[in-house]
Amino acid sequence: MRSTLRWLLSVGLTVALLMVPMGLALAHGGVDDGDEPEEEPAPAASAPAAPAAPGTPPEPEATAAPAEAATPASPAPSAAPMAEHTGDTADPAPATPPTPTGTPADSAPAPAAPTQLALRLEPDGADQARAVAVLTDPSGQPLQNATITFLRKTTFGEVSLGTVRTNGAGLAAADLPVSPGQEVKVTAAFKGSRSWRATEAGASLSVPAVAATSRPPGLYTQRPNPWFLAILLVVVGGVWLTYAAVFYLLFGLSRARMAPHRVPVPSEIPATSD
């Protein structure tokens, strides 16, 4: 009973005393629930691309666009009966070559036709590159409005660089942050549709290393101060030597057991005179 009362007293006292700081906190309205600060306009160029956020659809590149890209380049409905989109390369039913119009999502059922995806990585400055993918049909016609996913290989898996729809030139691009001296591997994948087979392509880019620039001497020391190093070695080394001494004592512990009882041999037993 007494113990319960003491518990109640402790809890009550604590709650009463905590009212003071809680009151202060509430009075200043500052419960940290992750309130966002006042937003500032973010220039599109400074916002880093989040791994999971879809990238911005690229502007069509005038120099790379072929003449036929002026027409909407997407798979068109086909008169052939719909085949299951399994991604198999072997399609027993002959398919009418699809004309590059319309969108993959809007196409009427048609046998899935193979697609071609070309990926290239273009450096764009010391710390930036672009992954550019071009999706075409077997005849080389670009496919418009196809969803391309860009993935960057990491040590333990992959990070998404974004999901982009191809433009009139069949082109989709995503920003790729890089660092000097890196080997970057990117995969572009088209998941496919009822009319077009899935496909993917990979590419790698070696970013050349840059020589380290010299820094102002107050902000950087190439080597630690020798006196500092000596003190560190003496102190840390001394501690570890002490540990070694303790282990030596432990070794002596096992040797300091009682000597086992030794039975004397007959020649050691002194002769007794009767």
């Binding site: 419960v31 989040a50 333990f156 501690v239 512990l253 300091a256």
Partner: protein, 447 residues
């Protein structure tokens, strides 16, 4: 420093095998050999939480640190908070146990092993937090390939490793006579475990020479481990104080962190004592005297910590430098006021509870200790995150999620797994070895 003799009683049979233990030791071995259904349920719960944390870590490995709330401005968050917290708690054992041993405080005997185990387990849980915070664990190899001794981060690695090794040795040494006593008592029922005990006992027979050597080894370790323990949390504080950042670059950080570590360590020890006293029925060995003595220590260290905290914030507030002004405003009345005042309340209300122990009793001390542990975790968070949120150049022209640190489920899951792992390792130790030192306690009772 007396060790007493472990009396080997031969010929007495009981359900623990051929009895070879001093009287009362069976109470201390009961937790090792008996486990109820609640124990297995509890272990299952802890293992489940750890599995969740492990899954979160694998998810983080797979998709990168982007799945956490860490961003360019908030490079440190919950993981480093956990690291500093657990390293702080680790000061419980070795420092308190060593100081009490060197000063000859005989009342310490039943609780020294509890304290020493807290140190070892806390270090084993706290140290990997840095690796989790790295994101890519292979970057740890950069320490070897490109390590720079000018960096406090490398000093931290050296000091934590030295402390961990020394703590394990200091935990092991006083266990040797107990391991030797456990072997004959448990060899019939637990032959595999008993063989482990025998191996670790190093042939202990209690001879005069062995006692002399063990006494010497424990004495050396007790003295060496104290400066090592102080250096560990001092070096952890240097990671912050050597950085030219408002809220961190402060000369008081070294002693501030050490005092805080001792404070949270004593609180963790009181909590462990209360739990094991109740769960393992150790009322005969862990008495209200222990709670009272540690309560006094908690009160004294708490007052010193209150003093250093007051000094730290008064200096920032009075100086009124622009970056510090923003930080103080954020802490006292801004977006971090809730967490800040909660940390202050949870950390310092227990000082009053313990001061009024005449009325609150053991319950007040234990409750206060629990509050201290929560408060000190919040305090570590308050030291780390608001300073990152208030750099010299205010955060601007970034996406909203870059300007605010919001821990995600991944970080909370790993934090929960760390706490569960700490408890699991601790409880696991109590099931393998007696948590109260048999030879020290029985020698004390015999005396």
């Amino acid at each position: 420093m007396s060790m007493g003799t472990v009396a080997l009683r031969r010929g007495r049979h009981d359900d623990m095998g051929s009895g070879a233990l001093p009287p009362g030791a069976h109470d201390l071995l009961r937790p090792v050999v008996e486990s109820g259904p609640w124990f297995y349920l509890f272990i299952g719960l802890l293992a489940g939480i750890m599995a969740l944390g492990l899954g979160a870590y694998v998810y983080q490995l797979r998709y990168g640190l982007g799945v956490t709330g860490l961003r360019s401005y908030f490079s440190w968050g919950l993981y480093i908070t956990n690291f500093v917290f657990f390293i702080g708690v680790s000061h419980a054992g070795t420092l308190i146990s060593a100081i009490l041993r060197v000063t000859g405080a005989e009342w310490r005997r039943p609780i020294t092993r509890m304290a020493e185990v807290i140190t070892g387990v806390a270090l084993l849980i706290g140290a990997p937090m840095v690796i989790i915070d790295l994101g890519r664990p292979d970057r740890l190899l950069n320490l070897v390939a490109h390590g720079r001794l000018q960096s406090p981060l490398l000093w931290d690695v050296i000091s934590v490793t030295t402390y961990l090794f020394g703590s394990m040795v200091y935990l092991y040494l006083p266990m040797i006579p107990d391991l030797a006593a456990c072997y004959p008592a448990l060899k019939d029922r637990y032959p595999v475990r008993a063989r482990l005990y025998k191996m670790l006992a190093l042939g202990w027979e209690g001879t005069a020479e062995q006692r002399r050597l063990l006494e010497k080894a424990i004495g050396i370790m007790a003295i060496v481990i104290m400066p090592v323990a102080v250096s560990v949390h001092t070096v952890v504080s240097y990671i912050f104080s050597m950085t030219l950042r408002e809220g961190w670059h402060s000369s008081i950080f070294g002693p501030y962190f050490v005092i805080g570590a001792i404070y949270s360590g004593i609180a963790a020890l009181i909590l462990a004592m209360a739990i094991f006293r109740k769960a393992y029925r150790l009322e005969r060995y862990i008495t209200p005297l222990h709670f009272r003595k540690l309560g006094y220590l908690l009160l004294a260290v708490g007052l010193v910590y209150l003093y250093t905290t007051f000094t730290e914030y008064l200096t920032m507030f009075y100086g009124n430098k622009e970056p510090e002004k923003r930080l103080v405003q954020a802490l006292f009345s801004g977006e971090y006021a809730g967490v800040f005042w909660s940390a202050i309340g949870f950390t310092f209300v227990p000082v009053l509870l313990v001061a009024l122990a005449r009325w609150t009793g053991m319950a007040g001390i234990v409750f206060g200790a629990a509050l201290v542990n929560i408060g000190m975790w919040l305090k570590r968070y308050i030291i780390i995150t608001p300073s990152l949120a208030n750099p010299f150049l205010p955060i601007q022209t970034v996406p909203p999620d870059y300007a605010v640190y919001s821990p995600t489920w991944v970080e909370w899951a790993i934090t929960a797994a760390a706490v569960a792992g700490f408890v699991l390792l601790y409880v696991g130790f109590t099931k393998l070895f007696p948590i109260v030192s048999i030879w020290e306690t029985e020698a004390d009772h015999a005396a």
